[in-house]
């Protein structure tokens, strides 16, 4: 469609204004992180720091065992992502490529579990994990991910439904069993969907606050999100270290998103059709 110059200019102005709204908090935070504490709360505020204090980041990082928190976050993020990708692809394959008794009802149940608020299951889950002896370990944050997650299974199943039937027919004639077909033929085809689920899971687990809050107690077990929130509780008056850690914490998901955004956009498109 052709557009007039005037409407183009209007669109760019609107885009620019909205971008300013979404970006300016980050930009302002980035500049402030290099300031002194006095500059940060000065009124009226200045955009640029008088002197760029790189050591702010180092000092903030050393104020708490953030290295340990980071390591825990990495363990949980990697552990759940591997688990989700494997378990969800198996389950999605089962639902998408076989006919079996009770399939439709089971799939309806799977979809309806997405309606259950976490508030309802969190208390029994806490007691269950306590019984297993998992409280104050990373296990309750990682192990459930190895049993799949309804939304991710749904996304992968939608993707697999679009693959033509003849794909496994040919392999079956060659004598491959169902598991070999899943592993050798469908895993490579599923790649965009695997990346989508992996990235969505990575971002949500990295950012998760309530799970670690409920299941972890010792500081040595904290994830970065929990460590940062605890840091906020203690250092309410010191804004600079908090902003420094916040910046460090938000960088990984932003990078991952920018690299993988193609899959997220396509995945969203696939899921609503």
């Amino acid at each position: 469609m052709k557009m007039s110059k005037v409407s183009k200019v209007i669109i760019y102005i609107l885009l620019g204004l909205m971008a300013l709204y979404f970006l300016s908090p980050f930009i302002y935070m980035l500049f402030t992180a290099f300031k002194t504490e006095a500059e940060a709360i000065a009124y009226p505020p200045k955009l640029f720091p008088a002197k760029w204090l790189w050591q702010n980041f180092k000092e903030a990082w050393n104020a708490q065992p953030f290295g340990t928190f980071l390591w825990n976050s990495i363990l949980v993020t990697v552990g759940t992502t591997v688990g989700q990708v494997i378990s969800c692809s198996l389950v999605a394959y089962g639902f998408a490529r076989f006919n079996f008794k009770g399939k439709n009802i089971l799939f309806m149940i799977l979809l309806s579990t997405m309606m259950i608020p976490w508030d309802v299951t969190m208390i029994p889950q806490y007691m269950e994990f306590k019984m297993f002896g998992w409280i104050n370990t990373l296990k309750p944050l990682i192990i459930p991910a190895w049993f799949g997650s309804a939304y991710y299974i749904f996304l992968m199943r939608q993707f697999l439904m679009g693959v033509p039937r003849d794909f496994e027919e040919a392999a079956r004639i060659d004598g491959a069993n169902a598991f070999q077909i899943y592993w050798k033929i469908f895993m490579p085809i599923l790649k965009p969907s695997l990346i989508l689920v992996g990235v969505l899971n990575m971002i949500s687990v990295w950012n998760d606050y309530l799970g670690p809050l409920i299941f972890l107690q010792d500081r040595s077990k904290y994830t970065l999100a929990l460590g940062l929130a605890a840091f906020k509780g203690v250092h309410e008056t010191q804004i600079i270290p908090m902003l420094c850690i916040t910046i460090i914490m938000i960088i990984p998901p932003i990078i991952i998103f920018i690299i993988a955004q193609k899959y997220i956009v396509e995945g969203t498109s696939g899921s609503i059709k």
Binding site: M115, D119, T268
Partner: protein, 308 residues
């Protein structure tokens, strides 16, 4: 031979086995147990005691905070859900315009949604600070004296809404992909017939995306009821419990006051309210949701549950 047949029949179940185990152990088991617990007085450290409908009676008759928190959450949902949808739709319309570099803006608008609720609360707590916050400074430049956002009970809920609207990108993306799928010739035909852009939006785009509006409406009602992280960290439920959301009320009853049975009852009431609202929205949808073909109408289902 018989063994082989059994194996073949069992194969699909083997594939879905991980989910079945997870469903039993981490979903339906806890769900049923939670319902049982809601009929007990269940302290963390002592033995549980059966109280029948006692917990539910207490909520509806003597616990004033229950109705207050419920009202706060309903108020939040009533403002946040439509606002968020309008902004999301507006942004989606912007990034579907055929101008150069529009994809960069798509990325920018989406970025806040990949950021932790902890980080968002720190960021906005700092921006909205009544003493040195930059938002009030900017407002003062245009002659408005900004309120003490997080300290004034009248404004705190709006502060939470502003901070949560930062994550509008995920809904924007869902609208975006749907609008993108509308064939371009539909618009061209309308254009030839003399329909202006506003007319095209209300007569073409909006009716076509009503199923997606329905989807977004339901998921955002569900997630706004479960909003916890942001209020917990941004306002802590205050000032004067003006942002003591229902999710926070439930959480605190469980893990702060250790009233596990009572909190389970709270959670079940929330669940029932969510189910009722969803049913209500679905019921009303036949009046305002249009499917491309009536036969294909069943293809849309609820896809995404609430976020923690």
């Amino acid at each position: 031979m018989k063994q082989k047949k059994v194996l073949k029949r069992a194969t699909p179940y083997l594939f879905i086995l991980p989910w079945i185990i997870g469903f039993l152990v981490f979903t339906i088991g806890p769900l049923i147990f939670s319902l049982v617990m809601s009929f007990f007085n269940w302290p963390l450290a002592a033995d549980p005691e059966f109280v029948g409908f006692g917990n539910y009676m207490e909520m509806f008759t003597s616990d004033k905070q229950f109705f207050k928190s419920l009202t706060i959450s309903l108020k939040y949902a009533a403002i946040f859900v439509p606002l968020n949808m309008i902004i999301a739709l507006f942004l989606a319309m912007l990034i579907t315009q055929p101008v150069r570099g529009v994809k960069v803006f798509r990325t920018i608008f989406y970025i806040p949604t990949v950021i932790s609720g902890v980080a968002v609360s720190i960021l906005w707590g700092w921006i909205l600070n009544g003493d040195y916050g930059v938002l009030n400074y900017l407002l003062s430049l245009i002659g408005i004296k900004g309120p003490k956002w997080l300290v004034d009970p009248a404004w705190a809920i709006l502060a939470v809404i502003i901070a949560s609207a930062f994550g509008v990108g995920s809904m924007m993306l869902i609208f975006y992909t749907d609008i993108k799928n509308i064939p371009i010739d539909v618009y061209e035909a309308a254009s030839i017939d003399g329909a202006n852009p506003a007319r095209q939006f209300f007569s073409i785009t909006l009716p076509i995306i009503t199923p997606t509006i329905l989807f977004n409406l339901i998921t955002s009602i569900i997630s706004s009821f479960q909003q916890v992280t942001l209020v917990m960290l941004l306002t802590g439920g205050g000032p004067l419990k003006s942002t003591y959301f229902y999710g926070l009320y439930t959480y605190n009853n469980a893990f702060k006051h250790h009233k596990l049975g009572y909190a389970s009852a709270n959670a079940w009431v929330m669940f029932v309210i969510i189910l009722c609202l969803t049913a209500l929205v679905f019921k009303s949808s036949s009046a305002w949701v249009f499917y491309e073909t009536e036969a294909g109408g069943a293809q849309k289902k609820v896809k995404k549950g609430g976020k923690r």
